[in-house]
């Protein structure tokens, strides 16, 4: 699907963040969650590419929303699906040559690996063992696949 990147409600955001040539635009993030989205993607401190974040942008559908634009990197399905945990209405636009090459929603994954810390200090995943944390996604939270601890609220505080 090839649409122009700039559409209806994006007009206002254009004033805040320039269009990108290639990369990923994560749109319709729940207002205030952009920094958590960046955190859960694990790109906050590691990317060398341009990263633009806009928060509390006016949105026809949502009232207010956040937007994250990441240049020169197309996020994988697994990466973007993590976003569903904190912002299930987010949409992902893969941009190539200033055009939307692909547009998709996020799907709640069944397994979250390596991006959430188990709240149980006695859990083996909180030691120096060569493993990543693993959580099964439940209807009302996450369950640690090592110690069975369940996270039902304040998920973002457990993001690594």
């Amino acid at each position: 699907m090839k649409n122009a990147q700039k559409t209806g409600e994006a007009e206002h955001e254009d004033l805040l963040v320039r269009r990108i040539m290639n990369g990923t635009v994560i749109d319709h993030i729940d207002a205030g969650e952009a920094l958590n989205v960046v955190k859960i993607l694990g790109i906050a401190g590691t990317t060398t590419e341009a990263l633009s974040i806009a928060t509390n942008v006016m949105s026809g559908q949502m009232g207010k929303k956040d937007i994250v634009k990441l240049s020169n990197r197309e996020l994988s399905k697994d990466e973007v699906n993590r976003i569903a945990l904190i912002s299930p209405r987010a949409t992902i636009n893969i941009i190539r040559n200033f055009k939307v090459y692909q547009k998709k929603g996020v799907e709640i994954p069944t397994l979250i690996e390596g991006s959430v810390r188990c709240p149980n200090p006695g859990c083996i995943s909180n030691t120096n063992e060569p493993i990543k944390s693993k959580f099964a996604v439940l209807p009302n939270g996450l369950r640690c696949l090592y110690c069975d601890s369940v996270i039902t609220k304040d998920l973002t505080s457990h993001i690594i």
Binding site: G122, C123, I124, I131, C144, L145, Y146, C147
Partner: protein, 304 residues
């Protein structure tokens, strides 16, 4: 990396459905009646990795493998193995996998057995991980109940430290498969974890909290008593006050149903008056002995 296709592990009682539990308990009963092959595991080696103290679990696993013709090799503490030199459990497990045909592990960290199963090339049996799971204890608890009565629909009281007591957690989960009504009696702060209580309720289990054992003693079929540990209390006086109020005595049992059985994973401290030992209700030593046939059935399940 992990155990390979078809490798069976026993990590949590939650990995079993009702049919699998009943099948294993039936097999344990056959073994208990001496209907087993004493050479079934001849030439097989069981690695017994206990990073926490244990008498019953460890010795009954060693007895179980010996009765089936196999042998065991062991590590008895963190201080006595390479973990004391900074080796990860993952590496220890990978190494030990090369020395044995199955691994039994007890470890202070929750989830340690699941990690071991990820890195082992042989079957792993969880013999207790922190405050987490202890499936072999649960299976022998169920076996002991079943020796006295069908498990379906009975009233079971869990008494003592229900917060940190892993045996109580595992047993409660298993009993939820049998339509059991669960009564809990525990000191303040040591109640069944809310997350577990919620999960059990969602599984259809009726759970009733009581302040006093006398409220429920006439009603229950099984009294499952767990140790209240001194270290959970700020001083010995408060420990003594609490533990004495949860003590099982002949006087308390005088009002119980005739067929009530008293179970305890042992070791006991002051929770059960020694005078109870002589009463027909007392089944905790038999329960402990049942660890051998039940663990033999478990070893046969994963090693044959």
């Amino acid at each position: 990396m992990p155990g390979g296709v078809g490798t069976q592990h026993i990590i949590s009682i939650g990995d079993f459905d009702r049919t699998e539990i009943d099948k294993l308990l039936d097999h344990a009963r056959q073994i208990d009646q001496n209907k087993y092959d004493t050479f079934a595991l001849q030439g097989k080696i069981l690695a017994v990795l206990f990073f926490e103290p244990s008498t019953r679990t460890r010795m009954s696993f060693e007895s179980a493998i010996a009765r089936l013709g196999g042998t065991s090799i062991s590590v008895s503490s963190i201080e006595a193995c390479s973990i004391a030199k900074g080796e990860t459990l993952a590496d220890t497990i990978r190494v030990v996998s090369g020395y044995a045909d199955a691994i039994v592990i007890r470890h202070p960290k929750e989830g340690a057995a699941r990690l071991a199963a990820e890195f082992a090339h042989v079957p792993v049996i969880n013999a207790g991980d922190g405050a987490g799971q202890h499936p072999s204890q649960t299976l022998l608890d169920l076996y002991t109940i079943r020796q006295s009565m069908p498990i379906d629909g009975i009233d079971v009281a869990l008494v003592g430290d229900l917060r940190y007591g892993r045996t109580a957690h595992s047993l409660a989960s298993a009993l939820s498969l049998y339509g059991v009504r669960l009564h809990t009696i525990s000191p303040k702060g040591l109640e069944l974890p809310a997350s577990l209580a919620t999960a059990l309720s969602e599984n259809g289990m009726e759970i009733i909290e009581h302040d006093d054992i006398t409220d429920v003693i006439r009603q229950v079929d099984v009294l499952y008593v767990t140790r209240i540990q001194r270290e959970r209390f700020p001083d010995s006086t408060s420990y003594f006050n609490v533990s004495s109020s949860y003590r099982i005595t002949p006087e308390l049992l005088s009002t119980a149903k005739a067929h009530l059985i008293v179970l305890h994973p042992l070791p006991r401290l002051d929770e059960i008056d020694p005078r109870v030992d002589a009463l027909p209700h007392a089944r905790y030593f038999e329960q402990s002995r049942n660890g051998v046939p039940v663990r033999m059935a478990m070893l046969l399940k994963v090693m044959q």
